[in-house]
Amino acid sequence: MLHLEQVTKIFNKGKPNEVVAVRDVSLEIPRGSLSVLKGPSGSGKTSLLGLMGCMSRPTAGRIVVGERDVAKLPERFLTEVRRKTFGFIFQHFHLIAGISVLENVMLPLYPTQMPLGEIRRRAEGVVDDLGLSARKHFAVQGLSGGEQQRVAIGRALINDCEVVLADEPTAHLDTTLSEELIGILRRLHGEGKTVVIATHDPLVYDRAFVQQVIEMRDGRIVPA
């Protein structure tokens, strides 16, 4: 599903604050797999996840999504790949404050050709599945951390993505909520989605259902 070949990402290249976030990384994420990127803070997990999800372009190397080399795609096509293929769950949720749960979940589909009524119906379905029906008209900033994380998951799932990318999804959750979240990610995997989780939480990576653990340190993959 995802193929990375000698990928390097340098932020602020050529400037005094230049940072090499990912160095010469090659890896393969099979379709329908559940993989974990593990490593300490600053090891390059989030940057690599961003590169996989077309959130940024590599400074060097190739990234193939499905059959398509996306490393040099024009911005417009890259956005299309991002919208149709990936669903993101961010460490800090990154919800839009001030609007409701339902509106946050609907956001990815606003710029599509789908009618508003259909978007609303689909979002309500997702919100119901995640147990947030009673809160669907609440402004998101009033929700608990666990609920906000579920809204973020709902937003990631609304476009029926093939790949779910989760960045430190348990970082702000207690053990119970973390288990609940892991359950949701396992369910998505069970439904055939490819799931990639960046984490340094053993509650996530030390689990039998994880099919592939990729360890990172200083922007490189640590050989197994």
Binding site: F11, S47, G50, G53, M55, S56, R57, E75, R76, T79, E80, R82, R83, K84, F88, F90, H94, L95, I96, A97, G98, I99, E103, L107, P108, Y110, P111, T112, Q113, P115, L116, I119, R155, A156, N159
Partner: protein, 388 residues
């Protein structure tokens, strides 16, 4: 289209999220539009009134200058002017300003039988007929100030200290209130008596010129032949009005330069950067699949909604202020001390060109100021934007 409607729906809920900030912007923006629109409306209305006054006015009038001041003009000048080639009829005019102690108002009293201009009409009653004495036709302002109407009596103090009583036989209406509002028509014989004008004199002389393009030449000839006379063409008066009101409106705009600067700072603040929160939101929207063009559409609608709401609020407030409340804020500066008393109400007239100018000066810069910084953020990779 459906995509833009959805984005617009998001824009509306988005604007409500920051309602206090946006209300602040609307208030400042509306105030600026209100000031500019009030000044433009008022200036335009005055100019329109001025044009209406001059419609049907004589192409050329001549009066005597004595030591630089307006003096009565001897009728013999009329006979001599009539001999200039190209000159048609030459008619004396009798008029003067009258200060009415009881109302504290200045009227213009004019001696004329029939309608002094083809454009003037009466609401009710009739014009003065030749030979009819002791009657008058009043402008609405004078009638209101004197609390009188048809068949009422208007007393006027003559130059000899005697009180003359005039019965109202007609009240003016007119497309231009400015033209007749302070006017009182009486018989030429009556005005000569009141103002003590000798039979061989007139206030000024109206000169009819056969070919309108020869008016300036005839004026030059009169000036050359009679240096003590001052010929005034209609074009000169029109130019004076135009310059006067444009100059005054410029002056008023200058006094509100502070508000305009505040608006400029607001637009500049928007144009030079987005807040960290706004940048993060653009990054989120990009990350979840919004294209750069979608972000620009979002920001365009955001700017358009805010600026159009502000623009319409300011415009409607200015319209009500100028045409229903007598432009109480700016009228004293724009009218000047010499202009018309009793009060009159301006006729609502709007020049579409002015609306275009206002939009060009306010709405377009604001929308541009909203879009440009968003575009700079939207073309950056979402990963970088969200990291801040």
């Amino acid at each position: 289209m459906s995509k833009h409607l959805k984005i617009l729906e998001f824009v509306l809920s988005s604007l409500l999220r920051r309602k206090f900030k946006n209300l602040g912007i609307v208030a400042v923006f509306s105030f600026v539009v209100f000031i500019l629109a009030s000044i433009l409306f008022l200036t335009h209305a005055f100019k329109a009134e001025s044009l209406a006054i001059l419609e049907g006015a004589p192409e050329l009038i001549v009066h005597k200058i004595a030591g630089g001041r307006h003096d009565l003009t001897a009728l013999r000048y009329g006979d001599e002017i009539a001999g200039i080639p190209g000159v048609g009829r030459v008619l004396p005019r009798y008029w003067g300003y009258y200060y009415d102690v009881s109302t504290g108002a200045n009227y213009t009293i004019m001696g004329a039988t029939g309608s002094p201009r083809s454009t003037l009409q009466l609401v009710r009653g009739a014009f003065i007929e030749a030979g009819q004495r002791g009657v008058c036709v009043l402008g609405q302002g004078v009638a209101e100030a004197r609390l009188t109407g048809l068949n009422g009596i208007v007393p006027i103090m003559g130059a000899n200290g005697e009180l003359y009583r005039f019965q109202v036989v007609g009240v003016f209406t007119d497309p231009s209130t400015l033209l007749t509002n302070d006017l009182m028509l009486i018989a030429p014989e009556d005005i000569r008596e009141i103002f003590d004008i000798r039979p061989d004199m007139a206030t000024d002389i109206v000169v009819q010129v056969f070919n309108p393009s020869e008016v300036a030449n005839v004026a030059k000839k009169i000036k050359y032949r009679f240096p003590e006379l001052r010929p005034i063409t209609r074009t000169e008066i029109l130019r004076t009005y135009e310059t006067l009101f444009s100059w005054r409106s410029g002056l008023v705009i200058l006094t509100f330069v502070g508000a305009l600067v505040a608006f400029g700072i607001l637009a500049w603040d928007k144009a030079t950067g987005l807040s960290a929160e706004e940048k993060k939101e653009i990054g989120i929207l990009k990350a979840i699949g919004w294209e750069t063009s979608d972000i620009l559409a979002l920001k365009f609608w955001e700017g358009a909604v805010l600026s159009l709401v502000s623009f319409l609020t300011g415009l409607i407030a200015a319209y009500l202020h100028v045409f229903f409340f007598g432009a109480s804020v700016f009228a004293p500066a724009l009218k000047g001390w010499s202009v018309i008393f009793p009060e009159f109400r301006l006729r609502p007239t709007i020049d579409p060109y002015q609306i275009f100018v206002l939009i060009f000066l306010t709405v377009l810069p604001y929308i541009a100021a909203t879009i440009v910084p968003s575009w700079k953020t939207a073309i950056t990779d979402p990963d970088i934007v969200m990291r801040g």
